[in-house]
Symmetry: C2
Subunit: 720 residues, 2 copies
């Protein structure tokens, strides 16, 4: 399994590269995330807790009624990885040292990041630093560091290892997408030995950080309101480890763990946990080890990012940085959640429960926007409150409601979890459908929806966005059928309303071009000349006024192609094919959510090589910093998108009338690819070769393979 | 002519009322404006110079590419009306005095505001204050104050009269339309006796204020960097006057006047000036003196507000306050400018020259928005740079270009000023048409315009806004015809482009309802239930999120009705009538620009009483503070709108193929109404009775009267 090691052996000399590595090697367990700083040369050694935020004012240049005037921001709560090294009591300035050797490794099998670095100091002493760190999956509040520091000199070494909560968020200017503000997030209240207590100013969330240090050497602890520092001294070599426990008042501040826990126990538990994880989650790509590694890196990151409880969700940047202010978007449900639903339904349910817990805020959001019924989930949030500042490309994206509905319905189809549906899922679906019924209006016998924005933010505030409308159709249909199936009471008049809306909802299309229309006016606009657009003009949003973008047929990501992948049942195949061809030509892929969707669409059209070409470098987006902004955090939606491209794209997995259906497309370059899913409690492994398919199912299951029905139990082999 | 006196004899006790009076009685001459504070009890005694601004940062919650990051703000440059009164060296606190008597008067015949106030002090001394003030129309830099202060006691009176430039703008919270910021606008640089020099921080505009004091009494002058103070002492009575000269570096800082000028000379010049003004401008309403007075108040305010030179324009609040940050909008051209074009074409031309002088900024604005040619005038500005922060209801209102085109064309039709057209007007028109040609696109044989906002801000970013499209048609047509008429060279290909666009421009309409459609999607939206909307829900923009407003058929002011008043030649009469009836039902008149337009539309449909009903209280909007925000400044557009309603509405004035046409409608309540215009250098006076019309023309002129042609010279009488 050494294909589960991610290594970088080039030292990151520049500040930008250090920030990039800090993201790439961040260590998280869904509860907390710690950036992978080189301890002795940190740039932004942030620590984050999922769901923990500061509430900051939003200033609007023109403060219209009902805008968001407060927003959540993820908070860097502490630097828990502080390290200083002294030789003969002189502090080493590692900026002035020469790097002799460097290797940083993410070990995804054991859930560790380790690093070895050798420096030559200005006075020619060789200093070797080995560190290892992990965030315990089993004990979410526990973070472990191990250090081994040695020199080739006989001089006395001194090491200070510390935890410091007098920190702030990272400030970066000149990027409209990175509107960070300097936060002084925490105020120390009181401290006792080795424990820091603090409070986030406006959100009032309290944090407790405790640190314990272990070594054969004698330790000296110093502490104050803002830091705990442990000093070791020795000749030649110092070995020690540090266990940090973090808890917060959103959940409960308590001593959950005994901090004398054995380092090896923690590591053993971690390996066990991941052993189970990989059994279900691992993807294999025969013939492209590099891609296989990248894909599994991405899945590992999803696991690191996803909250272990329903106090929090899964951010667009996971717990790796402060990009997008740590917010949760629709991407989680549409791009990331299927991975959990198909490999670990229990974890998927937690994500849904987070949404359920924030229904009150979604109700308030709907009322703010003038709706008489229903709930509208926030476009971006941590606490559940709407935090989007520019509403045309934020709040107006009502389709987030459908993303959540989709996740609920998909979860139900995969798990048949009736209890969840009766207690939570249908209530959510009903409120979502109520909102959509209130949002739309009947016009000349059609149910229409005006003034919304689809996933493509290069056109905003439109009428009858195809994506939104078709998703709403799906929501109505499923609410009607599942509530009936489970005898869930809904007033008959209301159900009839939903039925009417479902039947009459308008799906705009061009009879002439035989394509679905992104919205009512899209096709009337001129086409942006992408061929004449110079490479450094992308992403367009950073170089063009919104009014200019909105006036053209040009897509950041294509609504219609995404809609036809998610909701193909409502469209004819020729419209799906023509739409793919049409929107392909006018899509910039300025969003990292775009290419993988085109890849899936291409596989559906049996364009295997085109699918691979769209899939292209997606898997390497963060590993190779392709968007040049991984320093702000990983791109979880793209990571999820890669999974979708494998499972729903290349494997062609679909659910057709309660039957699993497979329709594989395998690129020439691959010998085979494999993955596993859990479908209605049955674990099934698929291994797809060019000419055959191998399936292993724990229980008897019926599968449509290239539209032919097979009943499978245990091993199954079929030529394709 | 005592119908040219505006009086208030109720003392404004509350702060809000004091602010209201300060606006109502502000004194301006187009160059400078001074709020009409009660000197001894001022709330915001602001002084403004037309065109003088500070440049302030605009913070956007989501800083997208190309937004405006700087904006102009009108600056309160000084308090020039400072007054303190002492009795026996004890300063009188007028807050603690009882008001015995109060009268404040605007004398529009003589161009003065005077006030008499008697107080009873806590120790029972009666104090009488008489003040008089004027901004000289003839000497734009000169402001005159006269004071007479007396008591019924023998104790010594001391008066301090001062000018103070350490002032700031007014700060008011909680109104999204009044986004004032505290400015510390000016930094004193150096001073010499009785002269203050200062500089506005970021705009770098310099201001000079000189004050001279005159009395039979001996004066004591004290001064420092920020103030000039003159002290008089006497028993029983103090009379003095103060002449303040203000100049600025936008124009030229120089000593323009001898400040020893005789007070009476100034007043005599002022009366002469206004005598000429009223000869041309006065409106009479037989049988409704109150209305007549209000209308003339409104015209007087327009005259006070309009810049005397082309360094500045005419703000939405004139020079009366800081509302809308002192910005100039499209309203000037569409609502206010016809008054000047018809009564004082030279002053109208100055307004056009201001726009001509800011073409460079309009070019930059077009480039910012991605246009390859043409100019786009800013939605709101002082300096000529775009200052609108919320672009969907700001910059997206491209129709401002057409408003300026309309003003040029109307000016040309009324004056036949070929020289202006050849040197300036056609260049402006050509650049405006270039912008619109670049903005639109041909689609299926139609010339369409996408992603603009019409005058009705309750629907934003729409396709084919009827108002915008029809106005662009007019612009193209006039550029083509006037450039041909005047042999103005335009490349043949370009003219052909404009001809195609003119012919093919799409004017959306419903064949079924026989109405013009506000835009492509408007009619598909549900109708807002105005009957069920409670009174305190208006204006809707202060109580509803934009997304909610945009989703309904509901108008702040109706685009279509305005379009059909301005551009009736492009529409059939039944569509005009049906549109009026349709949009009437869904218009809130939340904009002060709405009712008068409906009034005009009603007269066109010969609905005289309905026209009067729409005209309704418009004339009293500021006099009676009907919008409850006159304290922030007068509503110049509404004032202009009242004039339009008289001349283009009730009188039914139109220009038809170079002929003046009159089509009067007189409400039952009126005996007659009269007004004068200058048409192609000929002064014509109209007096319209119920059954007859009297016309007096200085030169021979042909007029269409109720579609019948008459040639008129001198007096003319006709039964109607």
């Amino acid at each position: 399994m050494n294909n589960l090691l991610i290594e970088k052996s080039t030292f990151p000399s520049s500040k930008k590269n250090k920030l990039f590595y800090e993201t790439l090697f961040h260590v998280a367990n869904g509860y907390m995330g710690v950036r992978g700083s080189i301890e002795e040369l940190p740039i932004h050694p942030g620590t984050y807790i999922n769901g923990v935020y500061e509430s900051v004012d939003v200033e609007h240049a023109e403060p219209l009624y009902g805008l968001t005037y407060k927003k959540d921001t993820i908070v860097n709560i502490a630097n828990i990885q502080g390290l200083e090294i002294f030789i003969d009591n002189e502090k080493i300035d590692f900026e002035k040292c020469k790097v002799l050797n460097f290797k940083q490794t993410l070990d995804m099998k054991n859930g560790l990041v380790y690093r070895e670095t050798s420096y030559l100091s200005p006075n020619n002493i060789e200093i070797n630093i080995k560190t290892e760190r992990m965030a315990s999956y089993k004990r979410a509040n526990i973070f472990l560091f191990s250090y081994s520091i040695s020199t080739n000199s006989t001089k006395k070494i001194k090491v200070k290892s510390y935890v410091d909560n007098k920190v702030s968020n990272y400030v970066k200017k000149n990027d409209p997408r990175a509107n960070h503000k300097q936060l002084a997030p925490i105020e120390a209240q009181f401290s006792d030995e080795t424990t820091l207590h603090s409070k986030i100013k406006n959100s009032n969330i309290k944090i407790k950080i405790e640190a314990n240090f272990f070594s054969k050497l004698e330790k000296k602890i110093s502490y104050n309101l803002n830091s705990i520092c442990c000093t070791y001294e020795n000749n030649e070599r110092i070995d020690f480890h540090k266990i940090v426990e973090i808890s917060d008042s959103l959940r409960k501040i308590k001593k959950t763990e005994n901090l004398d826990i054995n380092e090896n126990t923690l590591k053993k538990e971690q390996t066990e946990y991941l052993n189970n994880f990989w059994k279900l989650s691992r993807i294999e790509i025969g013939g492209d080890e590099k891609l296989e590694k990248a894909l599994n890196y991405n899945l590992y990151q999803l696991q690191q990012s996803k909250s272990q409880d329903s106090f929090a969700h899964l951010g667009a940047k996971g717990l790796s940085g402060e990009g997008y202010e740590g917010h949760y978007f629709w991407d989680t449900e549409m791009y990331c959640q299927p991975f959990f639903t198909l490999t670990n339904p229990k974890e998927s349910k937690q994500l849904l429960m987070y949404r359920y817990k924030t229904m009150k805020q979604a109700k308030d959001n709907a009322i703010r926007l003038g709706h008489k019924m229903g709930i509208l989930f926030p476009w971006r949030t941590i606490s559940g409150n709407e935090c989007s500042a520019y509403f045309p490309a934020g709040t107006a994206q009502y389709h987030i409601n459908s993303a959540i509905a989709y996740a609920i319905i998909f979860y139900y189809h995969c798990t048949n979890d009736k209890e969840f549906m009766i207690n939570y899922g249908l209530e959510l679906l009903l409120e979502i459908c109520r909102l959509f019924f209130d949002l739309g209006n009947f016009n000349n016998g059609k149910f229409e929806i005006h003034e919304v924005t689809g996933p493509d933010e290069y056109t905003c505030l439109v009428s009858n966005n195809y994506y939104t409308n078709v998703s709403v159709k799906y929501d109505f249909e499923n609410l009607i059928s599942i509530s009936k199936e489970l005898n869930y009471y809904i007033d008959e008049n209301e159900i009839n309303n939903f039925k009417q809306a479902y039947k009459k909802i308008y799906l705009p299309k061009s009879e002439k071009l035989k394509i679905c229309l992104q919205d009512d006016s899209f096709i009337n606009k001129p086409i942006w000349d992408l061929e004449k657009t110079s490479d450094n003009d992308f992403p367009l949003l950073l170089n063009h006024h919104p009014l200019e973008l909105y006036r053209y047929q040009v897509c950041k990501q294509p609504d219609v192609v995404l809609a036809n992948y998610l909701y193909p049942q409502y469209q004819n195949n020729d419209y799906i094919e023509n739409s793919y061809l049409y929107y392909k030509k006018i899509t910039t892929h300025d969003s990292s959510l775009s290419s993988t969707i085109f890849s899936i669409a291409a596989t559906r059209l049996k364009l295997g090589e085109e699918a691979l070409s769209f899939f292209g470098n997606s898997a390497y987006l963060d590993l190779d910093n392709l968007k040049k902004n991984t320093e702000e955090g990983i791109h979880t939606a793209n990571m999820g998108g890669c999974y979708l491209a494998i499972v729903f794209g290349f494997a062609g997995l679909e659910m057709k009338n309660d039957l699993l259906s497979l329709n594989p497309t395998i690129p020439n370059k691959w010998e085979y690819f494999s993955f596993s899913i859990i479908y209605r409690k049955t674990k099934i492994k698929f291994k797809i070769f060019k000419n055959k398919i191998e399936i292993h199912s724990e229980n008897e299951i019926t599968i449509l393979l290239n539209s032919k029905k097979y009943t499978i139990l245990g091993d199954f082999n079929e030529t394709i």
